[in-house]
């Protein structure tokens, strides 16, 4: 179970005229994600949903609030005062707070993450990429080869094991990222707009594959997307983010039995509702800004 308690994130940005300005990326976001569920975070670009996902993954420290994964704190929030900040800097002089440890490979939480632009290592072949993550999770050396072949087959990459990511198509690279994420057998998979960069036909196939894998393995999946169709079709619950400052505007439960049809009436109804909600937001934008 993932529990985010009143997460806020502030940045300071420097304007063109050299004046500094505070920027609130996330404003007091609280969210509870049950184990085994498929949750989508939906919102327009720049509403802080990717930042929120990175905070969940422990790749950024929140300015305020805490994230608990299975009753373990992910990252302590950044200090608020200047004096505390100095101490914080001193404490994390050599190892930044997001680092695992100096020499021992060990993840802090049982998470895998898939990035929008894949982030598979271009200097390793597909097989080496998967072997690398298996090694990080401490799989025995003798078992790694077999496991890598298994996960590459699972996502349909058999035959391309020895290709470098630059030789793979966008869809295949995304499959490789998925294989890499599955290979460590995490309980939670965080996905940051995983299908944004592939063409529509490939996207549908990848979505089907993802659904199949989710139903087989029953992992918790948190999907960040700006595609309303994708969010409604895939997830149990859609969390709608709104920008300026990023916060949760609404939650919509999608209780349509699976397997779903993309063009079914129920899906269309929910989609209309979400779009109407979003349109209302943009029309009444001034009402929310202070």
């Amino acid at each position: 179970m993932i529990e985010a308690r009143r997460i806020s994130k502030f940045f300071s940005v420097v304007n063109d005229d050299r004046t500094a300005e505070g920027f609130t990326a996330l404003n007091s976001v609280s969210l509870r994600i049950e184990s085994g569920s498929f949750v989508s975070l939906l919102g327009p670009s720049g509403c802080g949903k990717s930042t929120f996902l990175e905070i969940l993954a422990g790749l950024q420290a929140p300015s305020d609030g805490q994230v608990w994964i299975d009753d373990k704190l992910v990252l302590e929030p950044l200090p608020a005062t200047r004096k505390d900040m100095e101490e914080y800097r001193k404490k994390y002089r050599f190892l930044s707070p997001i680092a695992n440890s100096l020499f021992r490979d060990n993840p802090k939480h049982d998470i895998a993450m898939i990035f929008q632009d894949y982030a598979v290592f271009p200097w390793m072949t597909a097989r080496q990429n998967v072997l690398f993550t298996l090694k990080l999770r401490g799989v025995q050396k003798s078992e790694r080869e077999g496991a890598a072949a298994h996960y590459l087959r699972l996502v349909g990459l058999t035959g391309s094991e020895n290709k470098y990511p630059s030789q793979l198509s966008g869809g295949m690279r995304q499959r490789l990222a998925l294989a890499r994420a599955l290979s460590v057998e995490p309980r939670i998979i965080l996905m940051d707009e995983p299908f944004a960069a592939v063409d529509a036909l490939t996207r549908e196939r990848l979505q089907e594959d993802l659904l199949r894998l989710w139903q087989e393995t029953k992992k918790t999946i948190v999907l960040v997307t700006h595609d309303v169709d994708e969010a409604v079709y895939l997830s149990d619950e859609v969390v709608v983010f709104s920008p300026l400052p990023g916060s949760i505007r609404n939650k919509v439960t999608v209780d349509i039995p699976r397997p779903r049809r993309r063009s079914s009436r129920e899906i269309r109804v929910i989609k209309e509702r979400l779009l109407a909600m979003y349109r209302f937001d943009t029309v009444h934008e001034s009402d929310y800004s202070i």
Binding site: E54, A57, G58, L59, R93, F94, L95, I98, A99, N100, S101, L102, F103, R104, D105, N106, P107, K108, I111, A112, M113, F115, D117, A119, V120, F121, P122, W123, M124, T125, F132, T133, L136, R137, Y164, P165, S166, Q167, R180, V184
Partner: protein
């Protein structure tokens, strides 16, 4: 002879053969990549006329032959130098100096560059020092080095070290610092320790700029080799060059210059080959 030993013999001989074949194939790749660009048809149409011009102009007396020795004279001089002046010994001593200085610079500059790129705390403490020291032109170090080390091998090695050190250091540091944070994030989520990040992500991402630094380092190192040998030493290519100047033997100077040029080119070609072998993944892009 038992059957077992025959099988073993044939296995080892086959392995030996395979090893030999691999070496031959790699040599072929290297030679094709290096000499291939020089002896390509396009470049030969430029090179051959240039050589002919170089040969004809002094012979026709358009330029004085005493000042510009034609290539044929340079080749005979080269043969004479190998026989009379023990050229190979000079080459060997130059190679030892250069190799020692270069290796010393590589094993110090590379780790320091990696550490500075990796950690902000270390960077803030070390980088300004190198930024202040690096702009001092390496030849400016010659007088103080001669006083400190005396004339001899340590002084020469130190001067070459100075030439090679900074390009490798700064290029490594830049490459490591500019590592794409997405790759770091994706490795961190899977639990990579900082050491794993350095060995499996940072260094590979920085590989191109590290090799670039080494190439610049080779060029600067050769400059420092010549300077070091001119100022202190009784052997080496730089010393031969200076000797030739004393006796006004322009053909010998040209031989030394051509040799130095060839060595520099050859070393850079070796680096290109290493880059090709290490960065196979870049080819597809």
């Amino acid at each position: 002879m038992s059957v077992d030993s025959i099988i073993r013999d044939s296995a080892t001989s086959r392995r030996g053969l395979r090893w030999w074949n691999l070496l031959v194939r790699e040599l072929e790749v290297f030679i094709r990549a290096s000499f291939g660009s020089v002896f390509s048809r396009e470049f030969l149409t430029v090179l051959i006329p240039l050589l002919i011009l170089w040969e004809l102009l002094p012979r026709a007396g358009i330029v004085p032959q005493t000042l510009v020795p034609p290539p044929s004279a340079v080749i005979t001089t080269f043969r004479d130098m190998v026989v009379d002046l023990n050229m190979l010994e000079h080459l060997k001593s130059s190679a030892i100096r250069f190799g020692a200085g270069f290796l010393l610079a590589l094993v110090t500059a590379f780790p320091i560059g990696v550490l500075m790129g990796w950690n902000l705390f270390i960077r803030k403490h070390c980088l300004p020092l190198f930024q202040i020291l690096a702009p001092v032109p390496p030849p400016a170090w010659v007088p103080i080095t001669i006083i400190l080390f005396g004339v001899g091998l340590p002084m020469q090695i130190f001067l070459i070290f100075l030439g090679v050190f900074y390009p490798i250091l700064f290029n490594t540091y830049q490459g490591i610092k500019e590592t794409d944070p997405r790759y770091l994030a994706s490795a961190r989520v899977f639990g990579a320790s900082e050491f794993t990040l350095i060995t499996r992500v940072y260094i590979w991402h920085a590989l191109g700029s590290v090799i670039m630094g080494i190439k610049i380092g080779i060029a600067l190192g050769l400059i420092m080799l010549v300077i070091a040998e001119m100022y202190g030493g009784r052997s080496g290519l730089g010393w031969l060059l200076l000797e030739a100047k004393e006796y006004f033997q322009i053909d010998r100077m040209v031989v030394c210059m051509v040799l130095l040029g060839f060595i520099g080119w050859f070393l850079i070609e070796i680096m290109k080959y290493i880059e090709l072998k290490l960065a196979v993944w870049r080819i597809g892009r």
